[in-house]
């Protein structure tokens, strides 16, 4: 028999304290201005 197990649902996994988001690789910096 296959048993269905309940899995805890989280909207978002919380980051540990002190976590710093990695920098986005792209796009790069705007050198002049964006139109």
């Amino acid at each position: 028999p296959v048993a269905k197990r309940a899995v805890a649902q989280h909207d978002k996994v919380p980051h540990p304290v002190g976590f710093v988001s990695p920098p986005l690789l792209c796009p790069g910096k705007v050198r002049h201005f964006k139109i």
Binding site: L25, P27, G28, V30, F33, K34, I35
Partner: protein
Amino acid sequence: VPAPPLAPLGCDDPESEAAAEVAVSYINSHSHHGYKFALNRIENIRVLPQGPNNDIIFLELDLLETKCHVLSPTPLENCTVRSFAEHAVEGDCDIKLQKLDGKITVLASKCHSHADSNEDVAQLCPDCPLLASLNNTEVTTAVTAALGDHNSKTADAYLKLLEIGRAQIQYHPAHVVYVEFAVAATNCSAEEAKVHVEACQLLPDDQSNFGFCTATVVKRPSEDLQVNCQLYGHQVPTPDTPFFFRVFQSTSTS
């Protein structure tokens, strides 16, 4: 054993910037019309390893129009990017490059350019003149008047129009037409052209002088015309680049 995947390249990494510099230089040197473009932002980069020291690089670039015509000998780094108030023009480019033993070359490129919207410009700068169509009657009339005025006053070669680069029309507080256009010298002096203008021919490529003119034509409240033409000078052709896009050897101003 397959090679481990490479760490993704960031758009602001020195390697990405080196590839973008090669790409922008290629785009400007192969452009046939209008102005040189400068790098504004690296939008995306993807690297496909082909073998040892051999990568294919796909670049997406956002460029901005400068004030230097493609015929101008001014190095791109000295070319000013058009300001927002001058009605900026953006270029979107996809470029395929190869990096082989550290040397980057362009394999293919595709670019589209578009001007900022009139609404955007008007919103932030209500009185700024907006870009006009190059075949607008007011524009072509202004270019004809400006070139005629220059030719009537110069003692140098009679200049003919190559192309109109850009034009802006302002209606308030005065009615003003701003035009920029590329020119080429003919085998006639301006004085000779007054007698036999139909005989004046563009000089052969290896002797030709190219230049660039800016003009302001005020139509209201009172009529006025100011024109300034700069000749870039004599070019020495080389076999591997189109003549129009070679670096000129000297400059002179009239």
